[in-house]
């Protein structure tokens, strides 16, 4: 029986978040009414010409630098020619022979504390095509098809990894790390459900220890990180089954069926065509100076790896905390903002990693960010420290309400009447009557059974409907029983 190793490479398309399209000044806003964000240029009307958006070039180079790539000093665009209704010029402006960025890597976490470098083969810049909606399964058997050219001409980068990924889980981790770094450098919102990040996976198996490559399949229609992982897990099992039975793996494109949880061979593909690629004569070749590339490098913000190290050094956080907090830019930004107002990094980190993260995760894997402003968490922590509310009240009552209503913690505490009673004169009577009502317990305590203190404090809390400050009650009982 062979033990197989998976060999996985990813091809990721990312829409850049430039304000305007790559070759014209149309906006790139997602979700606009169909065919309202297009012009003669992005519709490829006769005689129109592309005017390169410099920002798209900058964003691509920044992506390349963040992924440790070499940046091409001389580059150009090619035309990739094919006929399809959503492709207005019948060619896509892309880069074949001279990608802007090559030979990089992305370091991803593996296991509890290890890391691994996944090679980046290339990052190149191209234009997005329009969107087709078929009244039927495919364009061939559709009764009719509708076209929306809003998307046509949005700048797109294609990131191709080396076949360095060895498991479905690693593929998911890679995508999460990639998404994080691209969001750090603010070149894309990377939303898979809106299609601004899309992924195809190439996968083959080989006997463990072998260095040769097996026959690969390409999986398409992966619409979430979870789908990437599940589809690869399925495909590993499927290919392993074939190989164990001595059957060949067909080199084919397979479609991930999310409902059924299987990959299926796509209808026999159109004969793989040579795209008649050649340098686009409408765009002059681009020469990038070393100074300009350095400028781009200087403009890069602190990247996740560096930030993780800084969190350990500057805030004294454990490695684990630093890694979790820097795994999303929003989270790391949130942490630093809260610490500015409440200077106890470890307490803040604990709150974020346990309580806040729970709310983030509830929003799904494409969380828009933290569901409350940093100032609110600062206020909440101050309320606890000041003894106004206790930790449990903060977690169980105030925080959920803050997330749900967006109200300030102080206001919630007031509305719900949660202020702790920290005034001894208000508690004297209650403490006295609890002690009076539980003479046996008091005897136990005086006999050395310290543990029963919890019961007595609990009784006081019960009488005050939880408002009594437990620390204060504890002190008062201790004081009383000393006498």
């Amino acid at each position: 029986m062979h033990d197989f190793e998976a060999v996985i490479g990813l091809e990721i398309h990312v829409e850049l978040s430039t304000a305007s399209k790559i070759f014209c000044s149309c906006p790139t806003t997602f979700g606009a009414e169909v065919n309202t964000q297009c012009c003669p240029v992005c519709l490829g009307l006769p005689g129109t010409l592309p005017a390169l958006n410099r920002k798209a070039l900058e964003y691509t180079v920044k992506a390349g630098l963040a992924l440790n790539c070499q940046i091409a000093r001389h580059t150009w665009f090619d035309r990739k020619n094919y006929f399809y209704p959503d492709l207005p010029k019948a060619y896509q402006v892309s880069q074949q022979d001279a990608p802007l960025c090559v030979n990089g890597y992305l370091e991803i976490p593996v296991g509890d504390s290890g890391t691994k470098k996944v090679g980046i083969n290339r990052v190149h810049l191209e234009e997005e095509v329009g969107k087709s909606l078929h009244a039927g399964e495919t364009i061939i058997d559709a009764v009719y098809s509708l076209l929306d050219y809003n998307r046509a001409g949005i700048p797109l980068i294609e990131i191709v990894t080396q076949p360095d990924i060895r498991s479905a889980e690693e593929a998911q981790t890679f995508l999460e790390s990639l998404r994080n770094i691209l969001r750090y450098i603010e070149i894309s919102d990377c939303k898979m459900q809106e299609g601004s990040l899309r992924c195809d996976a190439n996968i083959s198996l080989r006997p463990k220890g072998s260095t040769a490559f097996g026959t690969k399949t390409e999986i398409k229609n992966l619409n979430s990180f979870r789908a990437v992982r599940r589809a690869l897990e399925y495909e590993i099992k499927r290919q392993a089954g074939l190989l164990r039975d001595g059957l060949p793996v067909e080199p084919e494109t397979r479609h991930w069926d999310e409902q059924k949880g299987v990959t299926v061979a796509m209808r026999s593909k159109e004969q793989t065509s040579f795209y008649r690629l050649f340098a686009d004569p409408d765009l002059v070749p681009i020469d990038l100076s070393a100074e300009w590339i350095q400028q781009m490098e200087r403009e890069l913000p602190e990247l996740p790896g560096a930030r993780r190290e800084r969190f350990i050094d500057e805030y004294g956080l454990p490695e684990y905390d630093a890694r979790v907090l820097t795994a999303a830019k929003e989270m790391a930004d949130f942490f630093e903002e809260v610490v500015k107002g409440y200077n106890d990094p470890k307490t803040v980190s604990n709150w974020i990693m346990t309580e806040i993260l729970r709310y983030v995760k509830e929003q799904g894997e494409e969380a828009e960010g933290i569901p409350l402003p940093p100032a609110s968490l600062v206020e909440l922590l101050q309320l606890i420290e000041g003894g106004i509310i206790n930790r449990n009240q903060a977690k169980e009552i105030v925080l959920p309400e803050m997330v749900a209503s967006g109200k300030a913690p102080r206001q919630i505490v007031k509305e719900k009447g949660l202020e702790q009673i920290s005034d001894t004169s208000q508690l004297e009577g209650v403490v006295a009557s609890v002690l009076e009502a539980n003479p046996d317990v008091v005897q136990d305590y005086l006999g050395g059974k310290e543990k029963v203190m919890g019961f007595l404090v609990g009784q006081v809390l019960k009488e005050t409907k939880g408002k009594a400050n437990p620390r204060l009650v504890n002190e008062m009982i201790r004081e009383k029983l000393k006498q």
Partner: protein, 465 residues
């Protein structure tokens, strides 16, 4: 002297002296369009009106490949029948901004993809010098319009001689500036790397005036040249001592005898008076350049014309059952034979790795070689003087672009001037300059034009105005 048939300079000066108004100028040209049908125009611009500016009242014709907002623009193809651009070509906007009156859109071979005007699909255009004879192409309509006095000047695309060849056949000045000098935005093209927007007029000074208005960087054209031109008209004046390259060997082998003799006589008679030093050079790469230009044009056409698929605008095949049928029938029915042949050739040479290596890549190498040959030539000479076409209009034995194509391969400025008549048909002389040297080129052309005095020879023959 009638207004229709005047040069741009004459029109501007006449208006300035108060001899006639811009409206009278326009009327005179429109009358000539109605009166003398040479098949120059595909359609007139109903809103043509002169405005203030350096070209106030100058009636200009545009090749139908130039997009005009609100006016049907077809580039001479059925596949664009009924297409009305919602945008203006930069050059059309610049002309109107300078006060010119765009009178109409002129005939051309389909997408400008043949130098033989007989290939035009939207009607026959006559050479005003001799009805029944070709005006040359692709910009045959533009040249016929100016030669017939229906416009004072015209603008059209040139990918290998499309403006200079008809200028030569029709006894006009035809000019292509350095690649990128005039914006290509809104000009329907088939081979963008070869396309230089060209100008047609009666006199070199007219060209200088038009170029002054049309030259300039256009943010909508990534290949447009930065920087501005000097005041060309002010520079056109005294003859300059120049080294002028001639290649008698190549001219003799490609051009017909009478054309060669006309040219030889010209340089022998004028060089000394102009202060020109003639330098004999060799152009062994002319046929290589011709083949390379042809292959590159076909390759780029096969891609650039892909957009005419019937989905968004223009001709659409009726009752297509699916996407493939829509594409193939739209293009089969919409394109003419010449264009289909070029698209097939281009698809063939790009569509397979072996063909790509053997033809397209070779053509690019040849282009580089031609480019280097020009670089070498400019070490020896300041301008190159050639026949514009190897033959007179209508002979059709030799590729008419043999002398005009090589400058497009390198994006060089070039100009054709009428220099004599043979059998009552005009012969053109071409001057080619290094990139960016429009000033030198126009100065020399202006000086040569004065020596030739073509206007009086015209009065002796031909009926073109």
């Amino acid at each position: 002297m009638t207004i229709a048939g005047m040069s741009v300079v004459e029109i501007l000066e006449g208006q300035q002296r108060g001899e006639f108004t811009p409206e009278e100028v326009l009327r005179a040209h429109l009358d000539r369009i109605e009166g003398e049908d040479v098949g120059a125009f595909l359609r007139l611009c109903p809103a043509a009106s002169p405005g203030p500016g350096p070209l106030q009242g100058v009636p200009v014709a545009l090749g139908d490949e130039v997009c005009t907002e609100g006016v049907e623009t077809t580039a001479g193809s059925r596949i664009l029948a009924g297409f009305v651009p919602p945008y203006q070509a930069t050059l059309a906007a610049n002309l109107q901004g300078a006060g010119a009156a765009v009178v109409g859109k002129t005939n051309l071979t389909e997408f400008g993809m043949s130098f033989d005007m007989e290939d035009a699909l939207c009607g026959r255009t006559q050479n005003p010098w001799r009805p029944g004879t070709t005006p040359g192409g692709a910009a045959g309509g533009a040249a016929a319009a100016v030669a017939a006095g229906q416009a004072a000047a015209a603008v059209a695309a040139d990918t290998g001689g499309d403006v200079r060849i008809p200028a030569s056949y029709c006894g006009l000045v035809g000019f292509t500036p350095t690649y990128g000098r005039i914006s290509r935005y809104g000009v329907i093209q088939h081979a963008p790397s070869l396309t230089q927007v060209g100008l047609l007029a009666r006199k070199v000074r007219d060209i200088a005036l038009l170029l002054q208005v049309l030259a300039g960087e256009d943010p909508q054209d990534h290949t447009s040249l930065p920087g501005t031109l000097p005041d060309l008209l002010a520079e056109v004046g005294e003859p300059q001592p120049l080294r002028i390259g001639i290649a008698p060997g190549a001219y003799k082998s490609w051009a017909e005898g009478e054309v060669y003799e006309t040219l030889e006589r010209l340089w022998q008679e004028t060089a000394a008076q102009l202060g020109w030093q003639l330098v004999e050079v060799d152009l062994p790469w002319l046929d290589l350049a011709q083949i390379a230009r042809r292959l590159i044009a076909a390759a780029e056409s096969s891609s650039t014309l892909g957009r005419y698929d019937g989905v968004r605008y223009g001709y659409r095949a009726k009752d297509a059952q699916d996407m493939r049928e829509l594409f193939s029938r739209t293009r089969a029915e919409g394109f003419g034979q010449v264009v289909k042949g070029e698209i097939l050739l281009g698809t063939y040479i790009l569509g397979d790795k072996d063909h790509y290596e053997a033809y397209y890549l070779q053509a690019l190498r040849a282009r580089k070689l031609v480019y280097k040959s020009w670089q070498g030539l400019w070490q020896e000479v300041d301008l190159l003087l050639t026949p514009t076409t190897p033959e007179l209009a209508g002979r059709g034995k030799t590729p008419p672009e043999i002398f005009t194509g090589p400058s497009n391969l390198a994006g060089l400025p070039a100009i054709s001037l009428p220099c004599g008549l043979v059998d009552g048909l005009p012969v053109g002389v071409q001057l080619i300059a290094p990139a960016g040297e429009e000033g030198r080129l126009l100065r020399a052309a202006d000086a040569l034009e004065k020596m030739i005095d073509f206007a009086s020879s015209r009065n002796g023959g031909g009926q073109g105005a």
